[in-house]
Symmetry: C2
C-alpha cells in the first residue's frame, strides 16, 4: 500500500502539498495538483484513514447505540442514519445496548474510546443524570426517543401524548365507549405520556377511565396476547383495544381469535408505530404512525450541522404522530 511519502516522491513535491490536495485545500497551484493526482493514480494510493484520524483528531465516524439491531423500528432508524451519514461522507459505527444498563454503558465507552466524533443514542436503561454528566464531556451526542429537560436541544422525540390521544379519539368517533388498553411498561416515559393522551380523549368525551380495562405489557408480541386473555378472564367489557405498539396489537389480535372473536366486527384494534408488517396483517391494522425516519434523519442532520458544520437547516426536536386508518376498527 502506497503512502503519502511515495506519492510526494513520485510527484516531486513535498508531503504537505500532497496532504493539501488530499484535503482539497485552496492555495495549491494547478500544476502541483495535477502532478500529485497523477502520482496518486499511478500508485493507486489510498489514504490511511486511521493515520488521518490520529493526526487530525477527527475520525469522520459517528457512533450509534440502539437497543437492538433487529425489529422494524430500529431497522428503519439505522437505515436512515446510515444513508444520511454516507451521503455526507461520514460513517456509522453501530452497536447495541439491549436495554441493559451495564451493556449500554459498555457500548457508550466503546464508541467514545473509538474516537467517534459524535454519538446517536437510543438508550433506556441509562439514567438521565448519567447522560447529563456525559453531555459535559467532549463527545457531542443526540438522544432519540427521550426527553431530558436539562439537555433538551439534544433530544429528538415523538409527541407521545398526542399519539395516545389520537388513537382514543378515533375509536370514540367511531362510536366506541368501552376501550381496553394494553400498554408498555408504565415506568417508561413514552408509555406514561401516551396514557395521558388516552385519558385526555376519554375525559373530553365524558367517558370515565376504568382501571380494569388496562393491562401492562412489555412491548413484545406475546404480552399482547396475554393482555387480551387477561382482559377476557377478568370479564372486562370492551369493544376495542388500543395497544402501545404494533407487535402487541398483533398478539392481541391472535388472542381475540383464540376466543373466536371476529375482527373488527366483535373487537376493534389500534396499534402504534406503523411498522411495515401492519399492512400484512389481516385485517390490516389501523395504527398511529411514528415518523422514525424523519426523526432519525433530523438527528443525523443535527450532527452534520453542529459537529461537522456541513448543513444549515432548521432543527425540529419534536415529531408528530398521525392516525393511519386501515381495516381493524369497526364503525359502530
Amino acid at each position: 500500500m502506497a503512502t503519502i511519502y511515495e506519492v510526494s516522491a513520485l510527484a516531486g513535491v513535498s508531503l504537505s502539498s500532497v496532504s493539501r490536495v488530499l484535503n482539497d485545500h485552496e492555495h495549491v497551484s494547478k500544476k502541483t495538483k495535477q502532478k500529485v493526482v497523477a502520482a496518486m493514480n499511478e500508485l493507486d494510493y489510498r489514504p490511511n484513514t486511521i493515520a488521518r484520524s490520529l493526526a487530525s483528531n477527527c475520525s469522520n465516524s459517528v457512533g450509534v447505540l440502539v437497543s437492538e439491531l433487529h425489529g422494524p423500528f430500529f431497522g428503519a432508524m439505522l437505515s436512515t442514519i446510515e444513508l444520511e451519514l454516507r451521503n455526507a461522507g461520514k460513517h456509522a459505527v453501530i452497536t447495541a445496548g439491549h436495554s441493559d444498563e451495564e451493556s449500554e454503558k459498555k457500548g457508550l465507552d466503546f464508541l467514545i474510546d473509538r474516537n467517534c466524533d459524535a454519538l446517536i443514542l437510543h438508550v433506556d436503561a441509562i439514567s438521565d443524570e448519567y447522560l447529563i454528566k456525559l453531555s459535559k464531556g467532549k463527545t457531542p451526542f443526540v438522544i432519540l426517543n427521550r426527553y431530558i429537560s436539562e439537555i433538551k436541544d439534544n433530544c429528538f422525540y415523538l409527541n407521545n401524548e398526542l399519539g395516545g390521544y389520537l388513537a382514543a379519539k378515533h375509536l370514540i368517533e367511531q362510536g366506541h365507549k368501552d376501550i381496553a388498553y394494553i400498554s408498555g411498561p408504565t415506568t417508561k416515559q413514552d408509555t406514561a405520556e401516551r396514557l395521558v393522551g388516552h385519558k385526555k380523549a376519554l375525559t373530553e368525551a365524558h367517558i370515565s377511565f376504568k382501571e380494569n380495562l388496562i393491562y401492562e405489557g412489555d412491548y413484545l408480541t406475546e404480552s399482547g396476547r396475554d393482555g387480551f386473555n387477561s382482559l377476557i378472564k377478568n370479564k372486562a367489557t370492551f369493544t376495542a383495544v388500543i395497544c402501545s405498539n404494533d407487535e402487541m396489537a398483533s398478539g392481541a389480535m391472535r388472542g381475540a381469535r383464540d376466543h373466536k372473536l371476529l375482527i373488527p366486527e366483535q373487537c376493534s384494534f389500534i396499534g402504534f408505530d406503523n411498522a411495515f408488517f401492519t399492512e400484512y396483517l389481516y385485517p390490516q391494522l389501523t395504527t398511529i404512525n411514528f415518523p422514525v425516519n424523519d426523526m432519525a434523519k433530523m438527528s443525523t442532520l443535527w450532527i452534520l450541522q453542529n459537529v461537522y458544520k456541513q448543513k444549515e437547516i432548521k432543527i425540529t426536536n419534536i415529531f408528530t404522530p398521525k392516525l393511519i386508518e386501515r381495516k381493524s376498527v369497526l364503525q359502530k
Copy 2:
C-alpha cells in the same frame, strides 16, 4: 484525556512498561504492573484506539456490508454478528450496499480503507470475478448467502435446492398437484437453486412442471400480490402457491383475499425464510426456516478463528433449511 506518557510519568516507569501491561504481556514484574495500574486508575486513563490501530496495524474491527439495514432477514443477521463480535472484544462497522454494484463497491472500499481487519459481505451486485480478485488482497473476508467455487471456504450459504424441494414435497404430501410458484429474480443464484429443488420434488411425484404456473417476482411484498393476480388473470389452475420469501407470500395472500378466496381452504400458501412476522399473519404462514442466525454466527466465528486466532471450532459452510408447519396449508 490522559495519555500513556502521563501514566508512565506518574507510575515512574517507561512507556514500554505501560504498553506492556496494557497489552497483557508476560515478563512484567508484579510491582511495576501494580504501579502502572494504580496510575491508570488515578488518571482515569483510556487508551486511544486510533493510535493503537496505527501503531499495531490492527483495528480490532470487522466491516459488515449488507444489502439493507432493515428487514427481518438482515435484522437477525446484524444482531447475531454484533453480539458475537462484541463477546470477542471486537466490533462491527456496518454499512449497506443496496444491491447496487457501484454502491457495493463503495461500501467495500470504505471498509477496507477504514482498516478493518476482516469483512463479512452480503452482496449481490458485485461479480464473482471481483470477489475472487479481492480475495487476493490483504483483507480477509467471508461471503454470506452465496457460493463461489474458487473461494468456497469463505462462503456460507443455505442449501437452497433442499429448501425448494421441501416446500413442494410438503404440498404434494398434503395432496396438492397444481402448485403455483412465485419466485425471486431468476438471475439470482438462490432463486435458481430453489427452483431446481422444486422441480425435483415434482418429478419424483410424477407431476409435470408447467411454465404458466410460475411468476417471477422481486422479493418485495407487492410483487407477491401482482404475481397472484397475474396467475388468476391467466386462468392458471392451482390449489397452492409457493413463494420465494415470506414478504411475497404475505402479498400473495392479500391477492387471494382480493379475489375473495379463503386461506387455506381455497388456496394454500408456503413462504420462505421464516421471518418473525409469519407468526402474526392470519392464518399463520407455513414456511421454510432459514437459519440466518446460525449462518451469521458461524461466519463470525470463522473470522475470530482465522483472523484473530481466538476460537478453535469446526466450521460448516452449508446450512440446512427446514419446513415449519403452521396454518396456511390445507390437507386435501
